[in-house]
Amino acid sequence: MRSPATLTREQFDAACRSLVELDISGVNGSLSYLPLNWMWKEHSKYSGFGYLYRTVSFQDRGNTEPSSSELDNGGVEDFEDRATIPMMGSSSQISIDQYVVFSNTFRVPSFYFNAYYADGTPLSLLDLVQTSFMRHTVSIPNACTSPSQSILLPQIGEDSVPFPLLTRGDHPTTGAPCWYIHPCETSAAVKELMDEIVGDEWDETNPEKGLLRWFGLWFMVLGSVLNLVSLPFPWARGL
């Protein structure tokens, strides 16, 4: 039997439970890339709306790659000069509240987050795309200087990134406004990988060939766009 392209709510809940309970010492290579330290949270009154949550904090030194000409600092080309110029957001403490929720429309996990400075101020879209949380340099079109709700993240090489759109939305359970990566292309990407790796041997409860593996591949694909490593590199981007 082959892997499903989408998940049911029950499968999502089971995969999340496995992830929360995962004993990292017993995990071998294929699952060791799973981001960890998640908590399972439920809606205060209604069951069936659970999601994963964690907060990650890091010291961010901002964009270490040459900036695009659209950025405010005048497009400095030389890497060494760049590293000595104090930038907005350089060396700041940033916290990111991260959520994995179930998308009812697309029947796949969906990644929501909010990013804050140490004083609680939320990061603007412009600041956000310059942090090391984003894997690749994103140039923001000039239209973005007014409050903008979504941007297309850049694609890697020839294979298109399956979730290119970063946009604003309400958290499906808490209703709070968050950033999220649009999940519309996810199922095709994960299914393709699962078919290559697991083939006909889909077995839902087997960690290597079932839901946990599916989840792991989902995180891996997401990880090509966002830096989800539990102890994030403070300044390495595109590595």
Partner: protein, 339 residues
């Protein structure tokens, strides 16, 4: 414009309901937060009332509110910055979302208010029980310091248009598994849908919307597994007039629970035995504690577009006629026993 499989009287009924939704309005009362009024303001104008279109969005009403309330109350020296405005439900404290259609804001308020009243009275019904009281939605307008952790959009028409188009595409995806019907519309038609809504032009809106929102053409032999109407084989071309509300893979429905999150699940238009799924079937399946199986009576009721809707109504038909113009049938569950 509707499929020839519908009789003229059915087609007239569909248009009638769509028109009622399009032209539906709700009463809103607005007052400016007194604490934010500068010293020279005219405080004699306390409340401003609007009969607002259900299908519209609050940001689209701001020019009207500015002209008839803010500019009158505030004196000429005050600078008015609508981008910092935000609304709160008076006396309740919840921040009003810009990207929700006004009808949804109103119906959500109705069911939450009912919960409060039910809890206060400890009765689920009573001599004065009115499931849909026609009282205004009371809002307090704040002029500054919008709470950015509770609001993600600024009050612009552009943000609402994006939210609206996003919902149309999601609904399209739910129905067919792809968004080809919407994305294959020319840009000028996609914009035309929004403009029809914004300018309150029913004909213009539905001229385009009928290409993506299917009519409830009835196919007695249709089942979810094969999509062939009894008269002709269904084309897989997007936008084909063979699309029917009864042959979608999932009807775009959202169930709003009182003070709760929004429930959304796969909803098949027809059950296994080919019978159209009814509102009663849906509520019993998803909110079983409030809609228990017979012979128990339901402890709650379903409001669609402000109206308590009978359990026999077919979900596919409802989505085709009483859905919001964004393609989703929004059902608001209120606590109480209606007769």
């Amino acid at each position: 414009m509707l499929n020839a499989n519908i009789s003229n009287s059915q087609s007239a009924a569909i248009t009638l309901f769509r028109r009622l939704v399009f032209d539906g309005t709700v009463p809103i009362e607005i007052k400016i937060d007194l604490k934010e009024l500068p010293a020279n303001s005219d405080r004699s104008l306390e409340y401003y009332y609007i009969q607002a279109p259900r299908i519209s969005y609050l940001p689209l009403l701001l020019p009207d509110i500015k002209r008839h309330l803010a500019e009158i109350v505030l004196d000429d020296t005050a600078t008015i910055k609508e981008e910092d405005w935000w609304f709160e439900e008076t006396g309740v404290g919840n921040v009003i979302k810009w990207h929700w259609p006004i009808g949804s804001l109103y119906d959500s308020h109705t069911i939450s208010a009912r919960v409060a009243a039910t809890v206060a009275s400890t009765y689920l019904n009573g001599p004065d029980f009115d499931p849909t009281p026609a009282e205004p939605l009371r809002l307090t307008l704040h002029l500054a310091s919008p709470p950015n952790d509770k609001l993600f959009t600024s009050p612009t028409a552009e943000a609402c248009k994006q939210a609206f188009m996003g919902q149309i595409k999601e609904a399209d995806f739910l129905r067919w598994g792809n968004t080809k019907r919407v994305t294959s519309l020319r840009k000028q038609d996609q914009d035309g849908m929004w403009e029809g809504l914004r300018d309150h032009n029913f004909e213009e809106f539905w001229r385009i919307a009928s290409k993506v929102l299917p009519a409830p053409t009835v196919h007695p032999t249709s089942s979810p597994s094969h999509h062939e109407p009894h008269t002709r084989s269904q084309s897989t071309d997007p936008g084909s007039s063979h699309d029917s509300a009864y042959t979608v893979r999932s009807v775009p429905v959202r169930i709003h629970l009182p003070d709760g999150p929004v429930l959304q699940d796969i909803v098949q238009p027809l059950s296994e035995d080919g019978r159209p799924t009814t509102l009663r079937d849906l509520m019993r399946a998803h909110v079983p504690l409030l809609f228990p199986p017979p012979p128990s009576a339901p402890l709650a009721y379903a409001i669609i577009q402000g109206v308590v809707t009978p359990g026999d109504a077919e979900i596919a038909w409802l989505n085709s006629t009483l859905a919001g113009v964004d393609g989703f049938l929004s059902i608001f569950v209120g606590l109480g026993i209606t007769n």
